[in-house]
Symmetry: C2
Subunit: 597 residues, 2 copies
């Protein structure tokens, strides 16, 4: 059975050394308690909780799945309910939530680090609190004070969980087509009717109530995206004391049989005149939903990293343990009949690609999350603006590029197991199957790429990318003379120039024919992913080299540089292929008549 | 539920137009019956059989899997037994088998075309006859006349099936470590004891007998690969009339729970003093096994193509049917609320990549199979030598590169379905899960790459590649002046030059440090895959353009050119990234200490 040990040293390196996070954040009143020792202690606890409680349940969840009973109730896999209780009791849900509603008010950075651990240990399980978190965000953003008081405390304490209801059988990406209707009632509530599909954690046995956030169209509302409103539809409506009372007419019609994340109940939800309450203004539901979705997209990128990390750990352990064949340069294990397979260059290539990706991806996600934390407290409007710009730009890259890559790395890690990788018992198949959904939900990766080139690049006259480019230029100028890390500055400089080349090409050619931008959008998203990862590796290299220069003799630092050099030498060259493909434009992609497919 | 329609027109284009196969083959006595009409009639029948009989059983097999009973017997999924009976009755198993033992003696090319259909319709099912075919080959290559007479007719008629038993729990790639032992008996037979794992079709209910081909070590044999012999171990030993009589002591201990190909029974086989008969000479078992394996590797490449083709067909149909969003260039479906998603450039990109890959892959596999057919009949020794050289070079590329690519294309086709792609009901997940094994079995893809750079390139002073390069040069010289297909000759010329550059680099640097070759082996394999696919596209382009020049107004030909141009513009540029990575050599890959993983 696979194991998972939270990579705390790597996490600390990014948080404490590269980002200097606690020192920076504790300067602000909101985060004055977020000291380094507290961070470390919570991460240690998180590591224990995830390896001891969540990891053993991962295969159980995959094997048992969720069971829907005839009355529409759903039972989660053995142990999930108890683990969720433990999770609640240990305060993992309320970590970064608003103290006004019972949260601990710690930085999102700590939340993402513990979230990474939870998703690595058991992605299907971690989705239950993950979805709740999304619902909390939506109510915080758009809810009335009364709604906040009614729902947030119980959700933050984990007594109630939440869901997001967007997709319908005929519409997913194109929400403008949605049909679920809301009929206004005399008391100010609405009757919601319709069918929603792919609803994660839609029905289960882990909480006393489930708070469904539902997109629906109020009778008579405009067509398309301009007529969509957001509603709270609780599984049990509340009595005057705010406790769950009557069963609402929202039911789970069936559970989907999926490729992965079997431990999460993915439901078809039927709304049959269910009582619902409008969040915010009529017809403005998408706005709230999108703020929440952008946050959720960072979490999906994190899920990709998490699965890649746990797959890596198990593949590395297997490669050091399994003996087969001899090193090309002569036996290293003279006493045995064969060498451990980690001697084989191609096995190492797959491990190194995964390792270099994981460490770069972690730096990128944590950097973005730190920007989010800072956006909430920084006194300088310019800084807050920049943070918002960066998050706009980085969100589709973190969601799309990182999960595309995680698909490849989990498959490579499975490959290292040979035939055993294909056998469920070894657990590597589950990592691949669970990762697969991350490329699809919260906006398919192709949609992320289109969001990047079609919306985020152009926003505010391209200010976000100009600002990021200037930051990278500054970083290069500052570190170019440091010969110990010259591969990093050189590689980054070249990648940035190619990304600029691609950006120029898109600007020049996307206007005349938007399909030029569409056809190259995924290539562009990968180019930005490669460039931002190169930037992260540059920052990590500077940090590691400084530690060495300061006399550290921890192996960790030279190993960090070796891993980063691998990224620059063996992964970054992919950017050229993307640039060449992008510049061929729409014509080769669109030339064939649709009927000829 | 997914559908499958054999792409007969594309198959005919390769067989009749590009390869001019029937005209060439019928010149030889062995294939004098293999006329174009016969080919077409058999392909039409194959299309009907696979879409009507095998396709509907694909999801059944995935869902039910195989069941092992307490007595060790195994039941295949509902309908498999009957479908196998139909398959036997229709003569699909004996198509290209030796007439001396009841085969129809038709070309392997027809066998691979029908095999592609069967594997696309139902890969798990097609493995039962596929493994039998491998066992037949091994007996043909190494068996005595008596063994051939005893086993081949029944296997060719489908009364008995076959298996290949190589892997043991502690050894797969490194067969030198195998422990299964063979003890010589007074009557010339052997008692075989040991455990074999991952035995496809190891036990089932579809045939009267199962002929296991088993690698084992005769007591006292040399250690390592030099002491391995090959044995026939029938499930039932034969009575004097050659009919199954006594149950041999070989049993299925368990069935593996796998990621995919659930319809195939992947068994742990226990040999407990089972009666076995030596094939060929003592300690020379691997030689026979490797001839057979090379043939099997072409079939695995074909499985990759087959899954990619069926995934493509369903994704294309979905993309034309599913409406969501609007074309970037303005609505095309004014009467509906949204456009079919095939209008979106990124959806098309994924479809085009899959289509261009499939058509190139098919040309490559069929070309190689035609070479194999010709090798068996051609009067000129030089030609036979060349065919053998090419097959040596192309086999690891067809196995490794094509299945690596099929993994990506099946995932992309699944992606086109959005959330529905993740739901088992739609069938796209099965294509991904079934494809996954093709990267592993018959030698993991990393092993293929090492075989290519470590063995096949250097064989006979590099004669194979020199010969292929000369052939490509000739092709370019002949067609360079044809302006209508200039993208093809230009692209091929450039790809060939880069492949040569990589080859030179490997020659110069692989000697001093073999890890330089190992670290770049997969990149090299992909470079050769891209170059040979570019060559195939060049040949197809010449053929299609000639048809147009000859006045054909079938849309098929311009569409073929459009698809090929897409390959040259949008897929071939990947070769640069591989070259850049390869040239960084072993250092970045090997620098990290094994303990630091």
């Amino acid at each position: 059975m696979p194991s998972y040990n939270a990579p705390i040293r790597d996490m600390q390196f990014v948080i404490h050394e590269m980002l200097n996070a606690t020192e920076t954040l504790t300067k602000y009143a909101k985060f004055e308690d977020a000291e380094r020792d507290l961070f470390d202690a919570i991460m240690e606890e998180g590591a224990k909780f995830t390896s001891e409680v969540l990891t053993p349940l991962n295969a159980v969840g995959d094997h048992e799945g969720c069971v829907r009973h005839e009355d529409g109730s759903v039972t989660t896999p053995t142990g999930f309910k108890e683990a969720f209780k433990t999770m609640v009791e240990n305060g993992w849900l309320s970590l970064a939530q608003d103290p006004e509603y019972g949260g601990q008010g710690l930085p999102g950075l700590l939340h993402i680090a513990s979230g990474e651990m939870q998703s690595a240990a058991n992605m299907a399980f971690a989705m239950y609190p993950g979805l709740t978190n999304g619902a909390i965000k939506a109510i915080e953003i758009g809810g009335s004070d009364e709604q906040k008081r009614s729902y947030l405390p119980k959700m933050i304490q984990g007594e109630w969980t939440g869901t997001m209801n967007l997709t319908e059988p005929h519409c997913g990406t194109d929400l403008g087509m949605l049909k679920t209707k809301a009929v206004p009632q005399a008391d100010g509530s609405y009757k919601i009717s319709g069918q929603k599909i792919f609803i994660s954690a839609g029905e289960h046995d882990m909480s006393d109530n489930i708070v469904h956030l539902v997109l629906a169209r109020i009778e008579g509302a405009p067509e398309g995206v301009k007529g969509i409103s957001l509603f709270i539809v609780p599984k049990f409506t509340l009595d005057p004391d705010g406790n769950p009372a009557d069963r609402n007419t929202v039911t789970c019609g069936s559970i989907e049989e999926k490729m992965g994340i079997h431990g999460n109940s993915t439901c078809v939800m039927n709304y049959d005149d269910a009582e619902g309450y409008l969040i915010g203004e009529e017809n403005k539901g998408l706005k709230v939903m999108f703020v929440m979705m952008n946050r959720a997209r960072l979490d999906v990128g994190m899920q990709g990293l998490a699965q890649s990390e746990v797959a890596y750990q198990n593949a590395a352990a297997y490669a050091k343990d399994r003996t087969q064949g001899r090193a090309l340069t002569g036996p290293v294990n003279d006493n045995g009949p064969a060498d451990p397979i980690i001697v084989h260059p191609d096995v190492r290539r797959m491990l190194m690609e995964t390792k270099a990706f994981n460490e770069g991806a972690r730096a990128l996600i944590y950097w973005a999350t730190m920007l989010e934390d800072m956006e909430g407290v920084h006194e300088d409007e310019k800084f807050r603006e920049k943070a918002d710009d960066y998050l706009g730009l980085l969100t589709p890259v973190i969601k799309g590029y990182l999960t595309d890559m995680a698909m490849r790395t989990t498959i490579d890690c499975q490959q290292i197991f040979g035939g055993h990788g294909f056998i469920e018992e070894w657990g590597m198949s589950q990592f691949v199957r669970d990762t697969r959904i991350a490329l699809i939900y919260e906006g398919a990766n192709g949609v992320q790429a289109l969001d990047l080139v079609g919306r985020k690049l152009a926003r505010k006259g391209g200010r976000a990318l100009m600002s990021l480019n200037a930051e990278i230029d500054g970083f290069i100028a500052e570190n170019e003379s440091n010969e110990n890390i010259s591969e990093f500055t050189t590689g980054l400089k070249s990648a940035k120039a190619k990304l600029q080349d691609a950006t120029m090409w898109l600007m020049q050619n996307g206007m005349t024919n938007p399909n030029n931008a569409g056809a190259g959008s995924v290539d562009y998203m990968h180019m930005m992913g490669l460039t931002t990862l190169a930037y992260m590796w540059g920052k990590m290299a500077v940090t590691a080299q400084a530690a060495i220069d300061n006399g550290s003799n921890e192996d960790f630092y030279p190993n960090k540089l070796i891993t980063g050099r691998f990224f620059m030498a063996r992964m970054l060259p992919q950017i050229d292929a993307h640039l060449a493909k992008l510049k061929t434009g729409a014509e080769p992609v669109m030339a064939l008549d649709a009927a000829a497919f």
